[in-house]
Point group: C2
Chain length 454, copies 2
Amino acid sequence: MQPTQTTTLAPRVLARDLAAVPHGEPATLAGWIHRRRVLASVTFLVLRDRSGLAQVVVKDRETVEQLAGLPEETVVEVTGIVSTNESAPGGAELVEPTVTPLTEPAAAPPTELWRPTFGAGLPTHLDHAAVTLRHPRHRAAWQIASASMRGFRSALGALEFTEIATPKLVGTATESGANVFTVDYFGRTAYLAQSPQLYKQMLVGVFERVFEVGPVFRAEPHDTVRHLAQYTSLDAELGFVRDHRDVLAVLRLAIAGMVEAIGEYAADAAALLGVELPRVPDEFPVIHFSDALAKVGADPDEPDLSPAHERALSEWAKTAYDSDFLAVEGYPMGKRPFYTAPEGYGPNGPRGSSGGARGAEPPVGSNSFDLLFRGLELTTGGQRLHRPSDYAAAMARTGTDPAVLAGYLDAFAHGMPPHGGFAIGLERWVGRLTGAENIREVTLFPRDLHRLEP
Amino acid sequence: MQPTQTTTLAPRVLARDLAAVPHGEPATLAGWIHRRRVLASVTFLVLRDRSGLAQVVVKDRETVEQLAGLPEETVVEVTGIVSTNESAPGGAELVEPTVTPLTEPAAAPPTELWRPTFGAGLPTHLDHAAVTLRHPRHRAAWQIASASMRGFRSALGALEFTEIATPKLVGTATESGANVFTVDYFGRTAYLAQSPQLYKQMLVGVFERVFEVGPVFRAEPHDTVRHLAQYTSLDAELGFVRDHRDVLAVLRLAIAGMVEAIGEYAADAAALLGVELPRVPDEFPVIHFSDALAKVGADPDEPDLSPAHERALSEWAKTAYDSDFLAVEGYPMGKRPFYTAPEGYGPNGPRGSSGGARGAEPPVGSNSFDLLFRGLELTTGGQRLHRPSDYAAAMARTGTDPAVLAGYLDAFAHGMPPHGGFAIGLERWVGRLTGAENIREVTLFPRDLHRLEP
């Protein structure tokens, strides 16, 4: 936790700072009534604010009666005397309180939020997210997400990446024709961007190194525990790389920044959820796709790794390298998007520079990778094609009309450096860290096939 | 400019660091051929990278001939000997170079990018943005935008705001029924969010202080120089405020952070564009709406300020307070959204708590403000209603069916603190700072009534 900041707001002590007030001095807390515990001779009021919980001891009969009319979640200001008390949470409590409601008495939440474990199922949580996100465990999961974004930006900012903001409304859905939402755009059809991929590449031509943290949209027609119709993508792209290994090195720095920021800004949240932060090694261990297939005993012609393969490979990396991360490189070109660079791709275009013939034996590998984290694919990244003639070949190979990508192909015709990048799914990262069974548990107001509310 | 960071990428000297290499030592630059100047006995090659420009002196005939085949914008690596030379830009140049192209020779850009002033009109720029954004003046404008986002987050992070990511696909368009894009959402109709307003309020109930930097969407049917179909909104919302003045104080800190970050991370860009950074006063001067009308000689019944009024008021603030900023508070309730708190609004609901009767004489003012910056409305903000009964009254007054906002109203029924917030339009901010005549000049790939490409 960082130190309290002063603002010009009303004087108020945060729950976590109560013990720093000298014993016997007055103090004002403000927050939500987290819990009332009525005993025979005393009522304990637990107050929740953004910093945590504080205990208020109520003995005065009038205040005890007042509290009977102020249910849990009512927002109040409480002024009293600080009493140092080792048995109180945080080492201090407020006594002789005056309680002032700041709004009307709260309605009862769908489940008691003060219980350490969230007491209702996922549908109840999602239907009432505005209230149930207040449960400390839900709140903590997003605090980890927030800190992760901060760490991602901080790491890339230190490497002179420029933050970009790219169009979410696009005229063509050619990056991947499937699973795209259509928008009525002033009477024309537009699409919601599935990723900032094409724009971040174009902007490497302007800024060399760019990143974007923003929403991406997938009209995912399947109801799974790990897909959403909108999620937050942490995207980066950089120029003047030798190959995908340079991209992987930057990905490692970004993830190290994310882990560090969780430790700095969300340590309490991580502790509450029992999150064990991963050690980020000096280099991610790397295995080639064909070796990975062999390692898990899969058919050498398999074009992709199954979830079971990913889990097995992660276990192997944990044993062999004591690493929670494993990069798999050299995926077959056939399963990768058209802008993917083949293995051995360079400025002067050696092996595979035509984009890789499909069905050749053995299949042409790519300069791309997946990063596995604790058994799950967290990130896809790699080197991209950068020569205009390679794009022309890729268009021809995939039967894409270059006219629909004219604005994008412009960048390559006018000079682009060797480059590559990656994208991390924020919610997937947090889900894996916290061990959530369903990605919706760690998403604010998730969107899916069935859910557009709240 | 911050110091160069080391990564594991290929050894390369940035243009701005060339003079730090000892005279006579070898160095490798990499970047775009910005300009070739062919004189009788020497060819000057100006190389552009993310840090700026560097000069390369070519005397060797073979290299001169090679350069004839490498047009401007071709990406090259240049290895040579550093020569300290006071007449060279930056104080050093590279001599005896070996030039290695990193891609194919570039096609000619739509206008020469090396000329100090961008030589084509706005339509040409926007049609070829992937290339023309490379012009140093265009690039500089976005570097100011990027630094501004960084400063915004840094200021709010220091105040313990939690970053949020809210749905851009929403089920109801009730915040403002007009100018909304519709999306085919798995066979249902969804809308693109016009702002994160309702979500950031709900999340004040979870985190107290939240911010989001993200895209917002307006189906703006008018072709103006200051509206876009998508722009970047810097949104903040915080709880436990006394009134809108506390919100304004945080807005001031956010803007101070933005200005400071431009000075720290985009000073060269600001200098190139002749941007005079505003002084951020210790407090923004504030004028009441009714006094503002009187000051500009407008009819006291006017419900809003015209652009001409805003300019006149800004001029007055500059003269009276030496301030580029002026907050106008107390706008009539009638022109503000339903969640706006009326003047005098407090936890215990004094004057105007019903939301303000329309047509009353004089009209009920609101606890909201506009912030004018150099003649233009930059930000709208203010205090919101927080009591459930006030929302019930506002729903009734505006004829809104509470059922369509059920998920939002949930937050208030279950206890919300007094709160407020604001939103800054990023592109509008940068446009005003740089003196752009059209907001499209400072937007990456703008979207409007006519434009969905590139």
